[in-house]
Symmetry: C2
């Protein structure tokens, strides 16, 4: 019987070269989250099913992977997490007396959803979350810190133009109150949520179907026409003759958030107010975010917002604000669109080879020196013909190769590297080699 060696359907597995590119993005996220004081957390991938089902929707319930082994007492006692927010809520509830609030945590981990597998949708995928949890209150300034971090991350990733879209649900809810909508607000939000994908007349038609009155639709239409740069949109919103408290609170929050983002060094061209951004239907209560890649039609790659009560299924009232980057999907889309390419096949920046067995000692000493200087080095110990050694090097495509060889019965180090598009080969001293490599790798 031939054994199937592919991963199960719907599970992403990368080649070494692509894994290296993936790790680069993951590292940028990790380090930037830490740079802003978000302490990394790690929770079990397996939770009690009751914890997951208490917070999930019907959709997530259907996707839950249950877990059991021979000694399990109950059939569906344990399951794999489907997001990182439910585990966060359980963790915070469990440690509430030992945490210091505002509590800033980051979590990069895999989550599981047994959905029908399709391109770009995986059953196992990475989420990269940050949340700030307050006790009773949480300053609105934190709502600005979150998208500023996202800006830093996408900038460092260097994967094309992007834009962070911001809105505040208080503005929408206040507007609905002001114009006296009597239909459930969530239904109106659901229509607004898809306004980017449908025509204006389709939109109006959807409002009609909800039996919203003519003049109310006019109001909604006018509202959704408000566009422009951040300052402009806020001015237009302020100019509206709306007295509703929630509405005006929303504008005030949006103004603080966007002003603070400028202080936090986010250039105005990287974010905008988009009054049609809603994000989910029940969870978020204030600021909401989406991030889109401008050269790519892959939808939001990172979204989140402000919520009133993380622990709604537990005890205390804890407000929070957070965001999640769907890294697996983002990576898959970038790869498919050719923005991310396979480059080298190894984490090593330098490969050392020797032209005979006697030179191994010098080769190892060279490796030791480079490693002491924080350079990733692979030493090819395999006793292969020199031709095969060069084939190995070519395949791995590292930036530097050092060949230890004999010239006139003296051991020398020959460094091979690319400079201005040409392949350089030079006999150099250890110190010269160290300098060239350190400079090039910026170590």
């Amino acid at each position: 019987m031939r054994i199937n060696t592919t991963p199960p359907s719907g599970f992403l597995e990368l080649t070494p070269s692509l894994q290296l590119e993936f790790e680069k993005l993951k590292k940028i996220i990790e380090e930037t989250y830490q740079m802003y004081g978000f302490t990394p957390l790690d929770t079990p991938l397996i939770e009690r099913s009751s914890t997951l089902l208490a917070k999930g929707s019907e959709e997530t319930d259907n996707q839950i992977y249950f877990v059991k082994n021979k000694n399990s007492k109950e059939e569906n006692e344990l399951a794999l997490r489907f997001d990182l927010t439910v585990p966060l809520a359980r963790y915070v509830a469990n440690n509430i007396n030992n945490l210091t609030f505002p509590f800033k945590r980051s979590h990069i981990g895999k989550v599981y959803r047994g959905e029908r597998s399709q391109a770009g949708r995986f059953r196992e995928f990475y989420q990269c979350d940050i949340d700030i949890i307050g006790k009773e209150n949480l300053s609105i300034h934190y709502d600005a810190e979150i998208p500023s971090i996202i800006y830093q991350i996408f900038k460092k990733m260097d994967i094309g133009k992007f834009k962070i879209k911001i809105n505040n649900r208080k503005i929408l809810n206040g507007l609905f109150e002001e114009i006296g909508l009597t239909v459930p607000f969530s239904k109106v939000l659901a229509i607004i949520d898809k306004s980017e994908k449908i025509t204006k007349s389709e939109l109006v038609n959807e409002f009609y179907k909800l039996e919203i009155e003519e003049n109310q639709i006019k109001n909604l239409e006018n509202f959704m026409c408000i566009k422009g740069d951040v300052k402009n949109v806020i001015e237009k919103l302020k100019d509206l003759p709306i007295k509703n408290y929630i509405f005006n609170q929303g504008i005030e929050e949006l103004e603080i958030v966007t002003n603070t983002m400028i202080m936090l060094n986010v250039p105005p061209s990287y974010f905008e107010i988009d009054l049609s951004i809603v994000r989910g239907l029940d969870y978020y209560t204030g600021t909401v975010y989406e991030t889109i890649m401008e050269d790519n039609n892959i939808g939001s790659v990172c979204s989140g917002g402000r919520y009133d009560n993380l622990l709604e299924n537990y005890s205390e009232n804890l407000p929070g604000v957070g965001i999640s980057i769907g890294l697996s999907r983002l990576f898959y889309c970038l790869k498919e669109s050719g923005i991310i390419k396979e480059r080298k096949k190894t984490i090593a920046d330098v490969i050392i080879i020797t032209n005979n067995k006697e030179n191994i000692k010098t080769g190892i000493e060279t490796a030791n020196t480079l490693r002491t200087n924080n350079i990733n080095v692979d030493f090819l110990f395999e006793d292969m013909k020199i031709k095969k050694k060069y084939a190995y090097i070519d395949k791995l495509n590292t930036p530097f190769v050092i060949v230890v060889k004999d010239i006139d019965e003296k051991e020398v180090l020959s460094l091979q590297y690319r400079k201005n598009g040409n392949l350089e080969k030079e006999i150099l001293t250890m110190n010269q080699i160290l300098k060239i490599i350190s400079d090039e790798l910026k170590i």
Copy 2:
């Protein structure tokens, strides 16, 4: 109904402070693996059950966690991996034509075993593996690279004295052949494996029970008395009047491995030859390793060795050598024995607070400058009373605190930090602060 907020039984979950200590160890492992050219790999946590059951033992089979959701066709089609070696074999088999051999990969990930939960044994735990896979051949020098990496890691971790114990199973197998043992070698190995835990007479008794002959037992006893420093042990082994080819091949390999470890900068006091190290019973074929903490009776924290055929359930014949650090168990033991302690509660090295709302802008500018210089900064935006802000700082215990405050209507930066055991408070310029913090954190 009160919801249970603890993680399921047998699953480790850490406080933020301990998580930070855990991450430090994980990062040392990760970076050192990379330093030696081991490319990080990531495979799904969920595998086909058939893949896992084909390679597991009865013990692991009983511990397997099966995974299913509402749409699963078969009951036990999928399961959680119980180690990182079976997924490696599947990955290598699946990518065999695209990998470059020798193939060096590292993998740090969680694995699952549904065993009875007890102190220090978890149902979910981290394994940190490296393996080098050859095609047809694999140089014996790689057997020296592996323990050299382990030395670097445990040295950097700074968690107490440790010793790497090395043996070669060819020596044992060759000896058994030479003295003409007729009982299955695996049974003799099992006795030798526990020789450290039983008395000499118990050991002899165990041999008798296997109906090993008197003079053979004498031979085994004499052999197991061989102790001393590496050079010494190898000399004694060479002096034995044993002609067996496998035996002498084992000695030769052990000599190359230990000599190469010296070249790779491992001090002789950190490793020894221990002829009673066996490691598992079927898998390993040559060099074997264990690492023990000398101040701690926690058994081997890291073990591995040389194997002949990674893909025994697949097609080609691929030799390899590898090792695995059981990080969760190691961490738990270090914590229990007080070697690892809670220190600070946040990843931030600096916390910035302001004494009034007007100073937020200067505070943010300060944060921006520090972050641009790769310093992890938390900014306390929450509008709390200054006393509460100081309480927040005290709890988080970061090395540096910057207070933005007004003196004579001028904003100043006051830096608080510990120096020679004293709490320093100084009004400083941004540049002075940056220098002190960078120097202290060695950034």
